[in-house]
Amino acid sequence: MSGDGLRHATEGRIDRGTVLRFRFDGTAYSGHPGDTLASALLANGVRRIGTSVRLGRPRGVMSAGSEEPTGVVQLEAPFPDPMRPATMVELHDGLVASSLSGRGRLADRPDPARYDAVHAHCDMLVVGAGPAGLAAASLAVRSGARVILADERPEVGGASPDTEGDDWFDRAGARVLTRTTVFGYYDDNYLVAVERRTDHLGAAAPGNLARERIWRIRAGQVVLATGAHERPIAFAGNDLPGVMLADSARTYLHRYGVLVGRRAVVFTINDSGYRVVADLAAAGVEIAALVDPREATGGTVGGQVGGRYGGHVVVAAHGDDAHGHDVLSTVDIEPVGGGPTVRVDADALLVSGGWSPVLHLYSQSGGRLRYDEVVGAFLPDGCRQAVTVAGAARGLTSTTACLVDGVDAARQALTALGITPVDWSPPSVGAGAEGPPPATAAPGGVPDLRFVPAEDYSTHFVDFQRDVTVADVLRATGAGLRSVEHVKRYTTAGTAHDQGKTSGLLTSAVVGQALDAGIAELGHTTFRPPYTPVSFAALAGRDRGQLYDPVRVTAIHDWHVRHGARFEDVGQWRRSWYYPAEGEGLAEAVRRECVAARTGVAFMDASTLGKIEVQGPDAGRFLDRLYTNVMSTLAVGAIRYGVMCGLDGMVFDDGTVARLAPDRFLLTTTTGNAGPVLDWMEEWLQTEWPDLAAWCTSVTDQWATVAVVGPRSRDVLARLAPGLAVDAATFPFMTWRDTVVAGLPARVCRISFSGELAYEVNVAWWHGLALWEAVYEAGAPYGITPYGTETMHVLRAEKGYPIVGQDTDGTVTPQDLGMAWVVSKKKADFIGKRSFARSDTARPDRKHLVGLLPEDPTLLLPEGVHVVDPACLAGGRLPEPPVPMLGHVTSSYRSAALDRTFALALVAGGRDRIGDRLYAPLDDGRLVPVTVAGPVLYDPEGARRDG
């Protein structure tokens, strides 16, 4: 069809003085500001804009709104965007789009746009800025309420083109969000909307503006003025481009100045089709026929109508050879119940199968729906949330009724909020109007016509996007299906991008007819968020890249960066992993760092360790209940290692406890567990032992910690802390001293995670870098070497010290780790104690932490590799799976100190296998012999800790 003459000379709210250029499927077209892509294509005579996904049938535009089932396109420029309803794409200069066959296409490059989210609170959220919504918002604003009014369209006024003026609406008094779709209604009146801020600007969109913004709105009261969707009717060929929902033709005329055709047939089962006839005829469209199954084609129709077919239905729509078979050319009309067929030429067939209130959000909120036989659709039927439905969304049809209803809904909501509503009504209604008129059916009632009876239902489409026909639905019921949910899944009706906005009730009606059941009895499929599709990027918002999760770094981090450290993520912390010198990889660097710590001096940033201070007269008693060992007997000035278990007896965390004062303890936790341990302690204190006078505070970020490790560490410390007696007798192992280090107030702890003489120096966080640099300088004469987490792991593993989370996995007891010594026998109870006595937990053949020495001392066992008993081997080979496993390697390293490789492993009955040979099957098929050893492989006598 040529586009000539399809643009009306005066109608519409488009800017005819400005021309916008766009391309569709490679062809250049033009339109105007105010157009959508759909209206511009229709104005240019483009009818077919896609191909259906399953049957390959032509698809055009059916509606003028977000319920659009067929007119879905791929945007190509300014940026590829899949599956966009052309009815919701605002035209801008340079827009490029192409047709689809039911599947969109993602861009092959990153989306440069930004996305954002905003929280908002209001007394009243009004969804939908049609007559009811505007009236509701207006009353609420005038009554002094904080109001948010959201609407998916570019301007307020609603879907209906029947604008009667809304000058009475005070935009400034409310937060008005246009181009904003409220798409989800969650618990406690929490609603979520997406605002489209830049798409309509095209290339002119400012780069600093988020393309889409999520609104998270908590509303005191919600008024849903969400309108109604017109329904199609199923007949043969009802999917042909040119067949449209009737009222959308009025929207195209009045809003966009576009004639959807030159010669139209209107097929309606309710009175709303008559205003279509009137308006189109007045605009110069030839009305070839008005078809209404009701006997009397009631209502006054202005303008010429070619033929009036009361008591008739449209049975088929066709293309023809002259105009092509992918657009409408002729319409077949028959009397209800059968009879002679009249064939009428038409390029538009405008169908109204009645109106379905838009209750998606209401249903999401938990609202019940009931089927109303008079309206022929579901209506709201009560909700426990603070929500009121107004206007067409509860079945009202006239603009006046909707205005009155909006005021009434606002009055109810305001009263519930404790706000006194002012006495006001929209001028066109008149002040003080009483409640709304009841929902009314068309004169003579709306016939329950959903699909036109036929022999062959294979082109009576129900779901236009998923290519589902009446025949498909009948096949489903024939297969034994009785539930609309089953039929939906059998046919896929209602599962497309439109989620069945136009097809849902039609599907139910066909099922109902097939099963001789009412729609009320069948119910409806569940409405789920989002109301209309929402981009992944909008939901992701700003929380991407470095903003996905905070990166925590220590006060010394910049130094590590400057000195070439490699980092690893430990929880949110970024920790130095190792410090490669020129030409070094991980293995070489770690070897050098280890040698420094074992033979000279090395230092490490240990600031990430969790630190919790516990104060109060009952602090000691409290810790006795949390740790497996006794803490209350610790002397002030002393430090003790401790293990915490869960109630199930499994190791939860470990660390040191320093007694600072009779009523003050300082705990350390593993880096990743600092938060969970504090939460755990507070939970017990508050919920079980509120009688204990003890209080916990996280001080992780208060103390920067530098571990100075190695035989020369005492020399380094002595230079930095001249006031501190550093000799082993005066400052023994597992004690702490408050002193001054490098001129900074410091607490020095003589503890060691390496077996070497070592000090952990703690200073205020903001002194961390100064301390570190001072240590570096003071240690320079001794060749002090910075080391990272990998070297820390090697050093501790050589000593058999486990890492919680690496050598344990939530199934390991302290006894399994060979640390029965840390489990008090004297205490009557502590968390986890009872679980040790359970039959499985007390088994002697549980997995124990042991050392493993590969017989080839150069072979590094991969961590995670498992070990098997030689007894299970057959001919030196593994048996068929499942192969019995004894356990797995938890840690494995090359040791400079041992001059060989070694591993720690959890092995069933491991302590009883020391000296045994086991085999480790490797990825390459080799079976590697390993010897079981005790876990402490270096300095088992502990001779080195005093230097």
């Binding site: 969650y186 618990d187 406690d188 938990g366 939970e683 079980e688 009557a828 009872r834 679980s835 359970r838």
Partner: protein
């Protein structure tokens, strides 16, 4: 997104809270006196009611206090909140 009324701070978004499961499950006074089965019940068995359910929440991003709530697990409606130690 629940709106939870912390008894100390007032209504706040669910994101500020940590969930603590069933309320009123007291630590046994003498765990050693329990059988493995009884101890196992204390460790692992919690009410899983469909309907009003007494549960614990902690206002972790606020006052860090634990408190109890009765919430209908079918509708997510919070019927009441009360402080630790107050009767259910």
């Amino acid at each position: 997104m629940l709106l939870i009324r912390c008894p100390w701070c007032g209504p706040r978004d669910e994101t500020e809270f940590h969930y603590g499961g069933a309320a009123h499950v007291a630590y046994p006074s003498d765990p050693a006196a329990l059988s493995d089965e009884e101890w196992g019940r204390y460790l692992f068995v919690r009410e899983n009611l469909k309907g009003p359910f007494a549960e614990r929440w902690c206002h972790t991003a606020g006052c860090r206090r634990w408190f109890n709530a009765v919430r209908d697990t079918l509708t997510n409606e919070i019927l009441r909140v009360y402080r630790i130690g107050e009767p259910a």
